[in-house]
C-alpha cells in the first residue's frame, strides 16, 4: 500500500517549505530515517527523513514548489505488502515518469543557473523578430536558463508575449535594509507610505543594456527581501540614538585581550559586552523582550538574542538562546560559534529560531549611524556603531579625548513608546559606561 508523505513541521513557526531537491526518485528504495528530499524553509535547509522502509512511488510536489505543512509531497510504497505489488507500482510509476520528466528537469536547471538566459541562438533571434516576441518575458528551459527555439515556438503558439504593463514602473522599490535615520519622536511616519502589497514580485520594467548583469532573486535573498518589506510595511518603525562613552570598556578590553586569547583561544571582542548590557537591561524592561501577535503582545520569558551575521551575499540572524545565563566568556564562544556556522553555511533550523531581541554590530564595518529594520515580530533592534575617539566635554567643563560610540535602536511603535525605549537604552548606556580598566568579567 502506498503511504502518503506530508510536508513535516520543521520548526514551530514554519508554515511552509520549498522542495529544494528530491534525493529519491520513483522506483528508488528508501530506508527508514533515510533522507528523501531537501526542503528549504525561511532561511535554513533541512532534510526530510522517511518514517519507514519502502519504495518511492510517486513525487507529488516538484522541485521548486512551495508546499504548506501537512500537504502531500510524495507517496512511498511500504514494506510487507508483497514484493510483487511494490514492484509493479514502481514500474508503473516509472512508465508515468517520462511524460512529466522533461519539464521538471529543465526547471531544476533553470532554478539556480541563469548564466545563458541572454545567450540567444540564431533561430531564437530570428523567430522572436519575425513574430514580435519579447525575449525578456520568456522563461528559458535550456541549459543555464537559455531560451530555446522550442520556448519561442511555444510562446508564438500561445499568442506571443504581452507588452510590459505600464503601471509596473510605478511600484516603489523596497527600501534598503539600512535606511536614513528618522527622529525618534516622529512616530510611524514611514509605515504609512508603504501602501502597496510588499511581497508581490514587482517588475520595474528596467531594460537590460549591454554589459548589464541580471541576478535572479531566489533563496535567501528572496527571503531577506520579503522579510524586510514585511517588517517595514507592518511595524511602524520609530528610531532613537544615544551616545555612549566606552573609554573604560576600551581600556578594559585592551588590558584583558592578550591574556584572554592565550587562556581561551578566542579573541575578546566588544560584542559579548554589548550583548551582556542588552540582556541585563532587558531583564529590567521585559516590554522590550516581547513580540507582536496581532491583537496581543507577548512578553517572552526567555531572553534569546538574535545577532546579525553577514556573508558576502546574505544576512543571517542566528540566535543565542538563554543569553542571560551566559558569562562574557560564554557569550564570546556563542557568538564565534554562530558566526562560523553561518559562514560555513551550516546553520540549523534551531539556530535560527526563537529570537526575542536583535543586536547588530554595525560598527564592525565602520558605520557610525544606522537605522536598522526590526527583525519581526520582535519589538526592537539595537545596533552598536563604531567606537571613535572624539573630543568631548568631560567632567567639570573640561575637554577630553574619549572613546565614543553611538547606539541606535529601531522599535515597533505598536509595542513600545519612546519613553520606555529611552529608559531601556539609557540603562544599556550606563552599563557600558560602568566598565573601567579594572572591572572583573
Amino acid at each position: 500500500m502506498a503511504t502518503d508523505i506530508k510536508m513535516p513541521q520543521l520548526g514551530e513557526s514554519v508554515v511552509e517549505g520549498t522542495i529544494a531537491k528530491w534525493l529519491k526518485q520513483p522506483g528508488d528504495r528508501v530506508e527508514k530515517y533515510e533522507p528523501i528530499c531537501e526542503v528549504s524553509t525561511d532561511k535554513v535547509n533541512a532534510e526530510v527523513p522517511s518514517t519507514f522502509d519502502g519504495v518511492m512511488v510517486e513525487i507529488i510536489a516538484q522541485e521548486g514548489e512551495t508546499v504548506e505543512v501537512g500537504q502531500l509531497i510524495c507517496r512511498i510504497e511500504t514494506e510487507g505488502e508483497g514484493a510483487v505489488e511494490s514492484k509493479s507500482a514502481a514500474a508503473s510509476a516509472g512508465s508515468v515518469a517520462p511524460a512529466a520528466q522533461e519539464t521538471p528537469k529543465a526547471k531544476a536547471d533553470t532554478a539556480g543557473d541563469n548564466s545563458n538566459k541572454h545567450r540567444y541562438s540564431p533561430a531564437v533571434l530570428r523567430l522572436s523578430q519575425e513574430h514580435g516576441i519579447d525575449l525578456t518575458q520568456l522563461q528559458g528551459t535550456g541549459k543555464g536558463g537559455r531560451i530555446t527555439r522550442k520556448d519561442v515556438l511555444k510562446a508564438i503558439e500561445q499568442g506571443g508575449t504581452q507588452p510590459a504593463v505600464a503601471t509596473a514602473a510605478q511600484v516603489p522599490v523596497p527600501e534598503a535594509p539600512v535606511a536614513p535615520a528618522t527622529p525618534a519622536a516622529a512616530p510611524a511616519r514611514e509605515a504609512v507610505t508603504a501602501s502597496t502589497t510588499p511581497a508581490a514580485p514587482a517588475k520595474t520594467g528596467v531594460v537590460l543594456e549591454n554589459g548589464d548583469r541580471e541576478i535572479p532573486v531566489t533563496g535567501v535573498r528572496k527571503t531577506i527581501a520579503q522579510r524586510m518589506v514585511q517588517s517595514k510595511h507592518e511595524a511602524p518603525h520609530a528610531w532613537t540614538m544615544m551616545e555612549v562613552d566606552v573609554t573604560g570598556l576600551v581600556a578594559l578590553r585592551n588590558r584583558l585581550k592578550h591574556e584572554f586569547k592565550q587562556r581561551e583561544g578566542v579573541n575578546l571582542t566588544f560584542m559579548p559586552f554589548f550583548i551582556k548590557a542588552v540582556v541585563d537591561s532587558l531583564k529590567e524592561f521585559p516590554q522590550l523582550n516581547s513580540v507582536w501577535d496581532g491583537d496581543r503582545i507577548i512578553l517572552k520569558k526567555d531572553i534569546n538574542i538574535s545577532i546579525a551575521v553577514a556573508t558576502d551575499d546574505a544576512l543571517y540572524v542566528p540566535v543565542i538562546h538563554n543569553a542571560d545565563e551566559k558569562s562574557i566568556l560564554g557569550l564570546t564562544k556563542a557568538v564565534n560559534q554562530l558566526a562560523e556556522k553561518t559562514r560555513a553555511g551550516k546553520l540549523e533550523l534551531k539556530d535560527m529560531q526563537g529570537g526575542t531581541f536583535t543586536v547588530n554590530n554595525t560598527g564592525s564595518f565602520g558605520s557610525v549611524l544606522s537605522a536598522p529594520i526590526i527583525n519581526a515580530p520582535q519589538a526592537a533592534i539595537l545596533s552598536f556603531e563604531s567606537i571613535v575617539k572624539r573630543p568631548v566635554v568631560f567632567g567639570d567643563n573640561m575637554f577630553a579625548v574619549r572613546d565614543m560610540m553611538n547606539i541606535c535602536m529601531s522599535l515597533d511603535h505598536r509595542i513600545l513608546d519612546g519613553l520606555m525605549a529611552g529608559r531601556f537604552l539609557k540603562r544599556v548606556k550606563e552599563r557600558l559606561e560602568a566598565y573601567g580598566p579594572d572591572s572583573q568579567i
Binding site: 517520462p98 522533461e102 541562438s121 540564431p122 533561430a123 530570428r126 535550456g142 537559455r146 530555446t148 522550442k150
Partner: protein, 327 residues
C-alpha cells in the same frame, strides 16, 4: 514483403541486374568460385558462368583499370574490392581516370562503373579490414558515392548505381551484412542516387548519419523517447551528390544538429555537412552543430577493448543527443 539481410540485398541486386542486362558483369578477388569472402557474389558464377563472374589477380589497380576500360567499351562492370582498405592501389585509376573521363572527353565518353567495397569496423578486423575510406573520395568531383544502411536501400541503390552512366563507389558496411535485416520488395525497384531519407521523425534534436552508425542513432532515439526526447534521424544514403535540401529541411525541424559517422572526425564528411548547414541554415540553428565521429587515430585497433573504444555505439550517441537536447 520478405525480410532479408543487408548482404542478401547485395546478392539479389547483382543477380537481378545481371539477368536484366547482359552487359553487366562482376569482377574481383574470389568473387567467382568462392562466391566472395563475405558471400556477396554467392551463386553468380553458377548462374552466369566464368565469363561474367571474373576471379581476378590480387591487383586492385588492375581490377579498377580493367573495369574502366570495359565501361568505356560499353559494358557495365561491377568491381569488388575485397575490403575497402585494399582500394588504395586502385585510387590512381579511380581518381585520375574514372572520375574524369566524362569531363576530359567533353561528354563523348562515359564510365558506367560500380566499385563495391565493404568498409567499417566492429568485426574484429583490425587495421587492414576495418577502415572507413569515404573521405578519400568525397572531395573528388566526378564520382558518386553511395553508402546505404538498410537492405531496402542497398538493393534499390545498387540497382540504380549499376544503371547509372557514371562511376559509382558503393560502400557497404560489413558489420551490417548479417546484422541488419529488413523488408525488401520482390518486384524490381530502384532508389534514386542523391536522395536522403528521413528514418525517424522528431522535434528535439536532428541526427544526420549513414551506414552502421545510423542504426546506432535509431537505437539511441528509441531509448531517448523513453526520456521524453524526440529525435529526428536523417539517413544521407548518398554522400555525393549530396541531398542538401533534405539536410536543410531536417535542420529546420529542430534547430539542433548532431552529425554521426564512423570515419574519423578530421576531414570526415561530417565537416562538409556542418559547413553546408552553417552556410545555408544559420538562422535555423538553436545550438552549435555537433559531430560525433571515430577518433583521429591511424587505424582500427586489434585489441577488443580498444576497438570498442574506437567504435561508436547507441550509448555514446544518446549521450551526445541528450547534451544537445538540454542545451
Amino acid at each position: 514483403m520478405p525480410v532479408i539481410s543487408y548482404i542478401d540485398a547485395v546478392t539479389q541486386a547483382l543477380m537481378e541486374e545481371m539477368k536484366r542486362d547482359p552487359r553487366v558483369f562482376v569482377l574481383g578477388e574470389d568473387v567467382g568460385v568462392r562466391g566472395g569472402v563475405f558471400r556477396a557474389t554467392a551463386g553468380l558464377i553458377e548462374e552466369f558462368g566464368a565469363d561474367r563472374v571474373l576471379d581476378t589477380p590480387l591487383t586492385e589497380s588492375a581490377i579498377a583499370g580493367v573495369s574502366i576500360g570495359a565501361a568505356a567499351y560499353g559494358l557495365r562492370p561491377v568491381a569488388e574490392m575485397q575490403f575497402a582498405d585494399f582500394i588504395m592501389p586502385a585510387v590512381n585509376q579511380i581518381i585520375s581516370e574514372a572520375a574524369k573521363i566524362r569531363y576530359r572527353s567533353n561528354g563523348d565518353w562515359q564510365c558506367p562503373l560500380v566499385i563495391r567495397a565493404p568498409y567499417g569496423g566492429g568485426v574484429h578486423g583490425a587495421l587492414y579490414h576495418s577502415q572507413s575510406v569515404e573521405k578519400i573520395f568525397t572531395g573528388v568531383p566526378g564520382l558518386k558515392i553511395v553508402m546505404p544502411s538498410t537492405p531496402y536501400d542497398v538493393k534499390g541503390l545498387l540497382k540504380a548505381a549499376i544503371r547509372d552512366e557514371d562511376p559509382v563507389l558503393f560502400f557497404e558496411h560489413k558489420r551490417c551484412y548479417r546484422l541488419i535485416k529488413g523488408e525488401v520488395p520482390v518486384e524490381d525497384y530502384t532508389v534514386p542516387i542523391g536522395k536522403a531519407d528521413v528514418k525517424r521523425e522528431g522535434t528535439d534534436v536532428t541526427v544526420i548519419s549513414y551506414g552502421l552508425t545510423l542504426h546506432f542513432a535509431l537505437q539511441a532515439a528509441e531509448q531517448l523517447a523513453q526520456e521524453g526526447i524526440s529525435v529526428h534521424v536523417l539517413d544521407l544514403r548518398t554522400l555525393v551528390p549530396l541531398d542538401k535540401e533534405a539536410i536543410l529541411e531536417a535542420v529546420a525541424k529542430t534547430g539542433k544538429v548532431l552529425i554521426v559517422h564512423e570515419d574519423n572526425k578530421t576531414g570526415g564528411f561530417g565537416g562538409e555537412v556542418a559547413s553546408i548547414i552553417a552556410e545555408e541554415a544559420f538562422f535555423e540553428l538553436d545550438a552549435p552543430i555537433k559531430r560525433l565521429c571515430g577518433p583521429d587515430v591511424p587505424a582500427m585497433p586489434y585489441s577488443p577493448p580498444l576497438e570498442k573504444e574506437f567504435m561508436l555505439n547507441p550509448d555514446k550517441i544518446a549521450t551526445a543527443i541528450r547534451e544537445l537536447a538540454e542545451f
